[in-house]
Symmetry: C3
Subunit: 363 residues, 3 copies
């Protein structure tokens, strides 16, 4: 069991200036789904760094700084020559490790002609890139989400999407760590009165950099998202167990079962429906974030109707969040410095996450 601290209401002042949460560097971030990275260039800005992603002929993912060393032209506006990138402005040519191998009008290639090559790992359906000092890439863990792997291996079927949001990433962290908003923002989809009413338990593992928030509803209304996908017709026991691996990966272990049905003593849980909800939270700039979302289920795995329903329904839920966070970013942009906010018990997880991010950003 990892060390952790229970966080609660006594730890915060009721009304304080909302802090500005910096982007955390020296960390792995999800730059793309593996399926997005092909032999055509994909330009993504990650933590304010412009990056071009592509695959070599052998399928290996490559991530280079998206700026030619010559006159900063975006390499994503260039073309591939085999596995090499030929800048579309003056033809500076780069190998997959970022070294320049050809320049126009001369044979000598300047020693300093090199673009940054980012450490890349393809795992659990994601292309992870390391933002920061590459010497630290090996010692920083990449959190896992094995249910995102193909079904025969993982036992889960996944629907997924990505939405860019014009808000600072910390607003998305706030949003996901406090699910009481499901009742109000997502009523009729995934929210019911019990989510907002039921108190939470929150804890922070400052060694593993994980915030956990748990809300266990013993007798709750079943929201349409689960009623329609599981076929349960009555009230349910509903567990929401969040594991936020700061800064990038958010896991929500969701368990839904007929009221009173609990896991067996041997660990099996045959009467419950398990859904793994995964978010990769990737800061794009100081004021925008990439919201990668996935819903993986261990039930009705071969039912295409359920797959389609969950994809459509969850996309609607994500867009409700996108709209709300776009609005909130506008609110914050227009408000005076030091504007105050008021926190209550439901915010324990979000506040713990903010503190963790602050600490990680200043290490």
């Amino acid at each position: 069991m990892t060390p952790h601290t229970v966080v609660g209401a006594s730890e915060w002042s009721p009304r304080v200036a909302a802090p500005s949460i910096p982007i955390v560097r020296d960390q792995w971030y999800v730059a793309a789904y593996g399926s997005e990275v092909t032999r055509a260039f994909l330009a993504r800005t990650i933590c304010n760094e412009p990056i071009v992603l592509y695959r070599t002929g052998n399928g290996a993912p490559v991530a280079l700084a998206d700026r030619c060393v010559h006159r900063r032209y975006p390499l994503s506006e260039s073309r591939l020559d085999g596995d090499k990138v030929v800048c579309g402005y003056h033809g500076f040519t780069y190998d997959t490790d970022g070294s320049c191998v050809s320049v126009p009008g001369q044979t000598r290639i300047p020693r300093t002609a090199r673009v940054t090559s980012y450490p890349v790992v393809e795992q659990d359906s994601f292309i992870w890139v390391f933002i920061g000092d590459p010497k630290l890439a090996g010692e920083r863990p990449i959190p896992r989400a094995p249910w995102l792997n193909p079904e025969p291996e993982s036992g889960f079927v996944t629907v997924a999407g990505m939405e860019p949001i014009r808000s600072r990433y910390s607003l998305l962290v706030d949003n996901l760590l406090d699910l009481s908003h499901e009742t109000y923002l997502h009523g009729g989809y995934i929210g019911t009165p019990e989510v907002a009413q039921t108190p939470i338990e929150a804890s922070a593992d400052e060694e593993a950099n994980i915030v956990r928030v748990s809300r266990r509803m013993a007798d709750a209304e079943c929201p349409p998202f689960y009623a329609d996908s599981t076929g349960i017709s009555g009230r349910i026991t509903r567990w929401q167990d969040i594991e936020y691996h700061a800064p990038c990966l958010y896991l929500l272990h969701s368990r839904v079962a007929p009221v009173g049905s609990l896991p067996h003593e041997d660990g099996t849980d045959p009467d419950a429906f398990h859904t793994e909800i995964t978010y990769a939270i990737t800061p794009e700039t100081d004021h925008s974030v990439l919201d990668f979302w996935m819903v993986s289920r261990d039930f009705a795995r071969e039912d295409a109707t359920v797959t389609e329903f969950m994809e459509k329904n969850n996309h609607t839920v994500v867009m409700q969040d996108v709209d709300a966070l776009n609005i909130l970013e506008g609110v914050i942009a227009d408000e005076p410095e030091g504007f105050q906010e008021l926190s209550i018990n439901i915010d324990a997880g979000g506040l713990a996450a903010r503190r963790m991010l602050q600490r990680l950003a200043t290490v």
Copy 2:
């Protein structure tokens, strides 16, 4: 008779840096027409303050700060529960006085959970809100415009509209205090050569905070706006008497009559056509203003054709001003600091208004 100072050409330097006129606080402002405020939320920004307006079931207007104390979500994105506002993000619930009466996940409501409730008065077709220290609301006068009340009572029929302008409010004050622009910007509508040619008389009542500008044309061309609405076919005597109640309400008492026709000694004026032109000038932000405009007439009151003509014609005139002020704001945004302007006699009223606003802003 209130004290006043005659203002004239001797009071200003011919070419000086254009001043920046601050927004005046501790004042009543028109937030909306009464007809705009219903059981659905209306979001308005007044003097940089985001406000949500609605009516209770009894019809009483309510004006609250449009930011939840929890995470600043706009309350205008919420829903009504009876007369209470339920925040659309996490369900913080507010009574009409701004006090929080319910929060999610706990029964204790933090003492400091309260949003600002603005003093509101509904009068002369307007919803007035007080911006500033609410303790001063009672002692600050609300200027009147009784002709805006329904016709049987007021003797006037009114057409009205509202246009947001992307310019600082002082440009609208400048515009309205110097009507010589009617000749050039509104030629063919309300301007004729005599408006620009005829000198004005201007005075400032620094106690009542009123600037008066008067232009009396004894023998003038009749512009289409009045020719078509009154039926006068020849030349006219035309009086324009402005009363600007700084900062918010601008009244233009317009009198049009056949040439030589004057009011009788007993005060009656049966041969003239009287039009009350009202503007509520409400700063939205430092760089935008809400332009509420109304035209009230005491003639042809039952003639729907005249009503329609005046509404359409004046809307065109207002849009000419909107276009000009949008252009001017762009000009000022791009120009260097301390850019100079040159004032002449026609500017006496506008300069007096600027001085009054400067004074009111620093009280």
Copy 3:
């Protein structure tokens, strides 16, 4: 022969912070083509100065500051009364020399009522205006481009256009001084491999303020732009001789001939096709530039098909540059201060031009 310095690779550090090149004042700039200036107002911003251009009834071009002295309303939103400009807001009226000759409401005209009148010269199809201290206008040369005059006189037929670019003007100077980009950005139009491969010679005449860059390809592929217009079917001798008259006029003397064909000893050159490519580079604001482009040829002068082809083809090439420079301006706007760039031999001309502009801006 004017004094000059050969510039080359030894003069720069390989990787340095990209400098910010200021706008050069006290210089003549192309404000418009003569054909653009008519009896209707043309508003142009040149070197951050808003200017209104028009012609008198006699056809003389006039350039006035585009801001009324009264309340800064753009005079380009006004109307002409004979040759005089009547402001569209309050009727301030200006003569062609910028002096105010009439104001509303009074007969006395303030002594200081005058807008700036710019020195104007119409020459070689351009309307040149002098930006800066007008006392220096007479001593600063206006570079010539006689081939832009009508065909019977000049012996050249010209196609032309103008594109505003949302980039600082120095990016267009960089672009035009280093034609190796033709191979990559304009491949299939005017670029072939030899342009990027062939070394250049560059020199700077610091007295006449001219940068020269020469690239002479003895045996090169003929790009479609010249193959289709000249009818040459095989390989060519291709000369590119640039003369950049800093800051405003860029001339590219292009000579294309069958391989091995050189000018005769007597100076005649009957086997070659000569194209004069002219760019007027006019800074609009600190972050935008007007790109006037012209292509003049001494061959197939009566062939309308060639005229149409060259106009369309070169417009496509210009738009490729516009797109690239708009992208680059965005790149620079988002990058941290002191971002570095790496220069090689092909940049000798561009770097010499930057140094010359820096010097001219600080004279």
